[in-house]
Symmetry: C2
Subunit: 549 residues, 2 copies
């Protein structure tokens, strides 16, 4: 059995724990009973799952969570204890045959179409289309929303960090301790990776999703050492010769040498910190990355780090770098790089100039942009709270709306035109220009022929009559595939690494002005002329003639 | 076996799925190896878990998550597959004996002291004190933080909603679909209940934690009906006589009668909506609570609701009320109440005036305050996104700091005085005044005698020399109990309902000005004179003599 497959099974076991039919709002079940009781068992419905506004004041969203939705459908089943709980909870007047009905329910009659996971998506374009028996489709609402909302929000947030950081900076997710509960942390690690992060500190996420895990040590490790006497043994085995080196002696000599180069006094550096770094280097001689801000970056941390790193080099190992977790990250990273350059030059160790500098204190999109403006020498950001809780907007507002029942379209009206739903069974197409950029997403009634390459298509604003334009696409992408039908997965979702790649290829099809951080241009979502007329005819049929507007 | 006990077992099963030793940051494990390798296996340490700032610009926090921490300690064990994963993930240079050491690790040598779950707590006062082997205590850090941070944040958020809503309004948590993942939703439901909510829509949370679950129907239920022809059967069995009533006919007659009373035209009301409400009432005749804003509250929803409710009354049932999910909630709730009063008077049905009005659209603390100012007639708020994601501040910043090692105090210095840790093994006391209000929390060294009732105590600001005051307590509460020692739970955490009560009794000991929403007064946290001198002596010993300040 492949390790991916094993991970999938483990993940499923986890999901089965909590992602189950009762992970829903009670009203889904009371509605199911009311439908059942009023003879709607054979009614069929179409629901669209979509959002109305992009998060983070941006103009794009990354769709994620599809694989978890499919697993939910696959495992959808009320256990005996679920039924027992419902019997205790719902009114005693409920007919017992309803519980028999629930007990046998599965998703075998549901058909789920979706946009490919990892794709860039936009407001109003359904991410999922769920077709099948009204009662069952309704019962899926809350859980599907829960699975898509946070996954997509996190993937979008991570993708935004990736964009502002640029391609050449590593991004690590460090947020588990501040996440919204244990699973909030796991989902955050998973979808941060999907959105473009390079790894996580979360070991369980690493194990479950096969994501690279990273981490070295904390301040408490440094403060647990007080003096050089706390070092257990001063030796280190040479990487190549395997002889025991007097490592501590070498470190102290190096510290003296480096303090002259850097013109700082070795007396000012903390011996407790040095003891900690020596011990850490002895444990991870080939992976030495040290936290240097416990006492004073300039006068203690950098000096001690350089001493240990140079001694390691003498023993045949190359240090990895440093982490800075407080203070002025722009200034300190530049200072560290200058220090490394100086040591590289004076000791003729060119690789020393290229040591990794990790920064990790309360970083968000704005901090990264501001650091870029100021100039810095950071190679890697470790990002926690702001990333994993999506502090700037902690929820995506996906909704799940009935758009057709027994072949008849349904429209939900609202005084707020933004909340009017687009009725009926629809298809979505993305039209591309000759330069490869996405031009517009077009919703059509499913009965209409697909737009064709090189053919003029009239694209209309769904609600503003006068806004319309002709588009001649150079490429047309049908956005939906059927993922679930007749009781089984019919398009297998891609492995996580491929979803992660899809995010970047999909983002590349968007014009830069749509993706920029400040005042981005909205991407256009249009309806066909046919769908436009269909919406507005229904609207007039359904809207009561009201008071004077 | 009691149902509570069953629920506990179920919850534990869930937790075992993801709350496990690998739900941690990798650096805990690399540090563990470095400690192990440098001969620190027998070192003992004391860690404090605390936060530095109250959330939501408030001046208090509710401590929660303790029970989950205890279950984590109870189940702490690296499985074979965990060890296998770590072997694959950590550098090949790691000595294999370390994995044997990990394999046998449990929390039998850990001692955990904590404040009672559900208590009001304040910055700098440790919520948990973890004592025991350095390596194991360090390995617990991330998971304990994950379990305490979100639980306490949610409980605090819920308690704040409860305070602004007042005692006489019901509060329901409706946030699952917008929560940060499936478990984020479950934790939100659990700790919203702890903080003072009356129930949740989340069925699984109801089942697992024995929380009341609530819910009726959604807009999609209403829009799935088009005409009166969609009603399956027009009859309803009388509650007392058990004869079949011609329910639909009664409803239509009632609608005519009510339309005259309310001076609205029955033609303007939606027949689809009426069909939905009739069907819902047939399914839940004794629990009829209807959503009335699908089309138009005034001209359709209220009229249809009253018609069904009066007909139900004729069949021997009392309706419960309505839910409004959009529009001007103050205006619409007052309009609904006036309508109910009018019907009550005209038809001599006094209970009609007391029908429940639920409001549920995008509600947060400010909305409730503003509704209170405007005047409204809402009996119950259903609250989702803002509550469960803690939108105003989605993370609590608890930290876990080493304060003592092998009996020697440790201090973490910082240029930011707010980040300096209070060193050593400490006790915390809450001193109360004669009126029963909490006056101050006092941290002391554990070697000091406890403050005594009626005896003058010098309370000092931990960092500002001149800020000090004498307090004569009328009551002294020692804040810590030992919850875990010698490998088992030694104080059993209270059941959820008691933790929920504790929140309210604990909040009542706080002066109103500390709890108010706008510019609350900070509650004071002090240190004893002895601890003050201890901190500052250590500070001077540890701080390097630096550049000119």
């Amino acid at each position: 059995m492949s390790s991916d497959r094993k991970n999938n099974i483990r993940e499923m076991a986890r999901q089965n724990g909590i992602v189950q039919p009762l992970l829903t709002d009670l009203y889904q079940i009371t509605m199911a009973y009311a439908y059942w009781k009023s003879g709607k068992v054979n009614d069929t419905a179409v629901f669209d799952l979509f959002f109305r506004t992009n998060p983070f004041q941006g103009e794009f969203t990354i769709f994620a969570g599809l694989e978890e939705c499919l697993k939910f459908l696959e495992n959808f089943h009320y256990s005996d204890s679920d039924i027992e709980y419902l019997k205790q909870t719902l009114p005693a007047t409920i007919e017992y045959e309803f519980y028999d009905y629930l007990k046998d329910l599965t998703c075998k009659d549901i058909k789920l179409s979706a946009i490919e996971e990892g794709s860039v998506v936009f407001p109003r374009v359904p991410l999922l289309r769920v077709e099948g028996p009204l009662i069952i489709a309704q019962l899926l609402e809350t859980t599907l929303l829960t699975l898509v909302n946070f996954a997509s929000l996190m993937a979008t947030n991570a993708a935004r960090y990736r964009m502002v950081a640029g391609k050449h900076v590593s991004l690590l997710e460090f947020g588990l301790r501040r996440a919204q509960g244990p699973d909030g942390g796991l989902s955050a690690s998973k979808y941060a990776y999907v959105g473009g992060f390079d790894g996580t500190s979360n070991v369980l996420a690493g194990k479950m999703f096969n994501i690279p895990v990273k981490g070295t040590h904390a301040h408490s490790f440094v403060t647990s050492f007080s003096t050089l006497g706390d070092i257990h043994s001063g030796t280190l085995r040479h990487a190549d010769t395997e002889t025991q080196c007097d490592f501590l002696k070498m470190v102290l000599e190096c510290r003296k040498r480096v303090s002259e180069i850097l013109d700082v006094s070795p007396e000012e550096a903390s011996d407790g910190e040095l003891a900690a770094l020596v011990s850490y280097a002895q444990a991870f001689p080939a992976g030495f990355l040290a936290l240097v801000d416990t006492y004073d970056v300039k006068r203690s941390g950098l000096l001690n780090f350089c001493a240990v790193a140079i001694a390691l080099n003498t023993c045949g190992y190359r240090a990895v770098g440093i982490r800075i977790d407080s203070g002025d990250l722009a200034y300190l990273s530049v200072l560290a790089r200058e220090t490394f350059n100086q040591v590289a030059k004076e000791l003729d160790l060119p690789w020393f100039a290229k040591l990794t500098i990790v920064a990790s204190n309360d970083i968000n999109e704005e901090t990264i942009l501001s650091l870029h403006e100021q100039g810095h020498s950071i190679d890697c950001f470790g990002i926690g709270t702001h990333l994993v809780t999506c502090q700037r907007q902690p929820a995506l507002g996906c909704v799940y709306k009935l758009v057709e029942i027994n072949g008849q379209p349904r429209i939900k009206l609202s005084q707020d035109v933004g909340k009017v739903t687009i009725p009926g069974h629809k298809e979505a197409y993305r039209l591309f220009g000759a330069d490869g950029h996405a031009l517009i997403d077009l919703l059509q009634r499913s009965t209409e022929p697909a737009p064709e390459v090189g053919q003029k298509v009239l694209c209309r604003h769904p609600f503003q009559e006068s806004k319309r334009a002709y588009v001649i696409p150079s490429k047309v992408e049908h956005l939906y595939k059927v993922y679930w039908n007749a009781g089984k997965i019919c398009t297998f979702p891609k492995p996580l690494v491929e979803v992660r790649e899809r995010v970047q290829t999909s983002l590349r099809t968007l014009r830069q002005d749509i993706k920029r951080n400040l005042n981005p241009t909205p991407y256009k979502v249009a309806v066909s002329d046919n769908l436009y007329n269909f919406i507005h005819d229904l609207w007039l049929q359904n809207a009561p003639i009201g008071e004077l507007f």
